[in-house]
């Protein structure tokens, strides 16, 4: 009987306290939401410190709320309070180690702190982690951030490996392919970059970034004809693209000056050779006027001048461009342009074109 009465009282107590705690819980959650909303507004209005206080208050009323903790951690990180941000992020990570948001935030934090290994680990976790929505896009963005971080750190081999892995899962999206191609180009992997730009252009033939990128990649690969084609399209698609315009000008000049272009008549080939030879000679003369003849640099320039004079005689008697003289002349032009650039700085567009031609020849010889 006693226990029955006690049980009844307990049941009544449970009912009463349940009502109270429900009301309490609703009130706490409402307060937390209010504070959180205020924090978001403060963040929007450019008051990060106030938003941090609001997020903290929100957490005071709903301390396990994942979103509030993440927002607070992000706000702290964005205001440079990385240590404070890390404490919350690590806490969130303990609760949910697969969460993409948390791993990405931790990756960004580690990258800011220069902790390479940790950053790579968290970015990887983010790239393979769980995302509540837009999983594919978020994962890819995490990978892009990681590659960007690696490039900034100069870890080119790791960045290339990540890019290659990323290529395997790229969808048929011209913008994305262009972005990846640009990253390959940044790494100096122009062959891969050009292939990806081409792939992007197959999907969207008028994409200015892809055209410019392809032009640049082809230019770097000394494929000036292809470069000229891409760059012409790039400039017409985006006339304000000064970089492409400049490259186009250089490519065109190279194609106009190159005496070894296929299918040229012999007379034209000789004309081009002589024109290039004169350009190099003029540059050498200008450089010699400012140089000290007694210095080692001056004497090497004088020696080049002497060679140039000898070659000038040989060239004037040249009737056939297929002989050794044309190769020797071109070698001398290369040597003069390189030396002059070293001692007197960069020359005009024609000199630049000659230098690139010389490099392309060396590359082809090797």
């Amino acid at each position: 009987m006693v226990f029955a009465v006690l049980s009844l009282i307990a049941v009544a107590g449970f009912a009463g306290v349940t009502r109270l705690t429900n009301r309490y819980g609703e009130q706490q959650k409402a307060l937390a939401r209010r504070m959180y909303a205020r924090g978001l507004n403060d963040q929007k209005d450019g008051h990060p410190d106030r938003s941090i206080e609001d997020f903290r208050s929100a957490l005071g009323y709903d301390r396990d709320n994942f979103q509030y903790q993440l927002s607070l951690a992000r706000a702290l990180r964005d205001t440079g309070r990385t240590r404070e941000a890390e404490a919350y992020l690590v806490n969130l990570w303990e609760r949910s180690p697969q969460d993409g948001f948390v791993n990405l935030a931790l990756g960004r934090l580690a990258s800011r702190q220069g902790q390479v290994e940790k950053a790579i680990q968290y970015y990887h976790n983010a790239a393979y982690g769980v995302w509540p929505s837009n999983a594919e896009v978020n994962r890819r963005n995490a990978e892009f951030e990681l590659i960007d971080f690696l490039l900034r750190r100069g870890a080119h081999a790791q960045a290339e490996a990540e890019l290659l892995a990323l290529c395997a899962t790229l969808p048929a999206d011209a913008d994305l392919r262009t972005h990846v191609a640009q990253l390959f180009a940044q790494l100096g992997k122009y062959e891969r970059a050009l292939a990806l730009f081409d792939a992007a252009l197959r999907l969207n033939p008028t994409l200015p970034e892809a055209l410019a990128g392809a032009g640049n990649a082809a230019f770097q690969l000394a494929r000036y004809r292809a470069a000229e084609k891409y760059l012409k399209h790039a400039v017409s698609a985006n006339p304000s693209d000064a970089g492409s315009k400049d490259l186009l000008q250089t490519s065109s000049l190279i194609l106009q000056m190159d005496p070894f272009v296929r299918h040229l008549r012999s007379s034209e080939r000789i004309r081009r050779l002589r024109a290039a030879f004169d350009t190099a000679g003029k540059r050498l003369n200008i450089c010699l006027t400012g140089a000290d003849a007694d210095s080692p640099q001056g004497s090497s320039l004088l020696s080049l001048k002497s060679n140039w004079i000898q070659m000038k005689t040989r060239l004037s008697h040249m009737t056939n461009a297929e002989g050794d003289t044309s190769d020797a002349a071109m070698d001398l032009i290369s040597e003069i342009e390189q030396q002059v650039q070293l001692q007197c700085g960069a020359g005009g567009p024609s000199d630049r074109a000659l230098l690139l031609l010389a490099k392309a020849r060396q590359g082809a010889d090797q």
Binding site: L6, V17, L20, L31, L59, A87, N91
Partner: protein, 586 residues
């Protein structure tokens, strides 16, 4: 120790078809069973009460200080002082028993008032402590919860007309339930009640205390969730040398705890000695000062401060700020407590510990950047340190940290740091805080720490080497009579077969020998009465029960009851007590 009991040790009962539950129910009396069930109900009611108490505190805080107390808010200045006046009136005119923390009041109920705590005390403590804490007084809800639990238990016990002995035991049962609910930590609550309130491990009450603590925690978790109070990442102690850093924290914490205790001990009697009219203003004045601390820039020190402990564990303060908060919290809590504001010392102690721990960890990391412990780790260890140093409950302090964090990996640093803090605190402040408070109140309750450290006299301290030969039961009267001729003793111990002891006097042996019974064995000629015997490690007071029954009591080995370690006599026991009392008085 009787022979029947010793035989019980050796005779192993054969297993029967009885189940364990049947044996259990058979072995405990009906009243004990009733008491255990009552303990469960006490736990449930205490849990419900504590949930309401926590809700009431939070609502009061939001209502009085706003949902987001900020420095510079006028409410921080006004609320503690204005509510302080109301609390003063309630304490003086309506609930005079609710001043202070509640731990000593519960102890007093156990030792002085036969477990009687008026129900009115629970109501008064609930209202006044919630108002005080909610308005920003620097006190916590745990000790009041302990008293509310004890008061509910006492009221229930009286309603159920339990015996005086049971009623007395109900106070600690309720106290454990209240504290467990407040901390969401049953083990710590049980340990604290045993360490501080009951003062001994008693099998009779342990079951009830555990049941009530567990049931109250189940109720609290039902309503408020089962997450630990603080959640920190697992602690990896990379190098054992890092324990030195935690030991440093223990030393700093021990000093801080001693200063805290000394401040309370110094100010409390002085404030009480002030004219009576000042009693009306003391709580309010403390409120003004605490409000001022909050208003001027550190609202974190107001109230229990759990949310700020959580922030400290998440590295939200610099070490300098943590140190400032620790110092100001000591000031604020001392003001609140010595003014007689109802409220507890547990939460402020944890607050000071967390802030101090974080600050010490921060400073240590400046000098040793390779330390792997996070601020959260140091804050948690700091909590244990202050708990051990200030409240002087070393075992509770270790388990409390484990339970509130749910993190076992922190145990080594906690044990190391707490030990240092406890030892330092004891040397600086010999009387533990709760004992000091009871003495200031004019009560003489048993000090659990002093009891723990009292040196116990044991049988071995008074036993003597037997100066007479030990006789065997199988020997003849004539043989033993010849043997005792070389001895001057008057009484001889006889070893019985297979076990047991008796004694015989020289006169009896002489008489039997004279009566021609020389060929008879001792066993056949002596009365069958057996002597009680003792073991060397038993408390000496046990010997007092037997030395009046027999001139000589054998002291035997626990491993072999036939092996005589010594003998003990009434004179030897009394002599030992005389020597000890003379030494103590000197």
């Amino acid at each position: 120790m009787s022979d029947s009991r010793s035989s019980a040790v050796h005779e192993v009962e054969l297993p029967t078809h009885e189940t364990a539950m049947q044996r259990f129910t058979k072995n405990i009396s009906r009243e004990e069973r009733f008491f255990l069930v009552v303990a469960v109900f006490i736990g449930i009611f205490s849990g419900l009460g504590v949930v309401c108490f926590r809700l009431f505190i939070d609502w009061t805080k939001i209502w009085l200080l706003g949902p987001m107390p900020q420095a510079g808010d006028w409410r921080l200045l006004v609320a503690p002082s204005a509510v302080g006046l109301l609390v003063t009136l309630l304490v003086i005119y309506v609930f005079p028993q609710v001043r202070g923390s509640g731990v000593n009041q519960t102890k007093a109920a156990l030792y002085i008032y036969n477990g009687y705590i008026p129900f009115r005390t629970a109501v008064g403590k609930f209202i006044t402590a919630a108002l005080a804490i909610g308005s920003g007084q620097s006190l916590g809800p745990e000790d009041p919860s302990l008293q509310i639990g004890a008061s509910l238990a006492s009221a229930l016990g009286r309603r159920l007309q339990l015996s005086r002995e049971r009623l007395r035991l109900l106070a600690p049962v309720g106290a454990a339930a209240g504290l467990a609910a407040a901390f969401n930590a049953p083990i710590s609550a049980v340990l604290f009640v045993i360490e501080e309130v009951i003062g001994r491990w008693s099998a009779g009450i342990l079951g009830s205390v555990v049941l009530s603590a567990v049931s109250s925690v189940v109720v609290v978790r039902w309503f408020l969730g089962s997450e630990p109070l603080f959640r920190i990442p697992a602690v990896g102690l990379v190098q054992p040398t890092e324990l030195i850093a935690y030991a440093m924290l223990g030393i700093v914490g021990g000093v801080a705890a001693s200063l805290f205790a000394k401040a309370v001990a110094f100010l409390r009697p002085r404030l009480r000695a002030l004219p009576r009219w000042t009693q009306y203003l003391q709580i309010s004045a403390a409120g003004v000062l605490i409000g001022l601390i909050g208003y001027l820039g550190t609202p974190q020190v107001m109230g229990a401060g759990y949310e700020y402990m959580d922030q400290a564990m998440h590295d939200q303060f610099t070490w300098k700020m943590l140190a400032i908060l620790a110092g100001l919290k000591i000031v604020a809590t001392t003001l609140s407590f010595v003014s007689g504001t109802p409220g507890g010392m547990f939460a402020p102690t944890l607050f000071v510990g967390a802030m101090l721990g974080g600050a010490v960890g921060g400073v240590e990391r400046i000098f040793y950047p390779n330390l792997t412990g996070s601020t959260a780790t140091y804050a948690l260890v700091g909590m244990g340190v202050l708990f051990a140093g200030f409240l002087r409950a070393p075992m509770t302090s270790v388990f409390m940290v484990l339970e509130v964090s749910g993190n076992y990996s922190i145990i080594l640093p906690v044990i190391v740091a707490n030990t240092f803090a406890y030892v330092i605190s004891r040397s600086v402040q010999p009387t533990p805080i709760f004992d000091m408070l009871t003495r200031q109140d004019g009560l003489d309750l048993p000090s659990m720490e002093e009891q723990r450290e009292e040196s116990i006299l044991r049988v071995e301290d008074a036993m003597q080497v037997p100066n007479a030969p030990v006789l065997e039961a199988a020997e003849t009267v004539q043989q033993v009579y010849q043997r005792i001729q070389q001895s001057e003793a008057d009484v001889f111990l006889v070893r019985l077969q297979p076990t047991g002891w008796t004694c015989v006097s020289r006169d009896v042996l002489k008489q039997m020998n004279g009566e021609g019974k020389g060929e008879l064995t001792l066993i056949s000629s002596l009365p069958t009465e057996r002597l009680p015997y003792l073991h060397p490690d038993l408390p000496l007071e046990m010997a007092l029960r037997y030395v009046y029954q027999s001139e000589l009591v054998p002291v035997v080995s626990r491993a072999d009851f036939r092996k005589l370690e010594g003998v003990i006599s009434r004179d030897a026991v009394l002599n030992k007590y005389r020597v000890v009392s003379r030494t103590e008085s000197e």
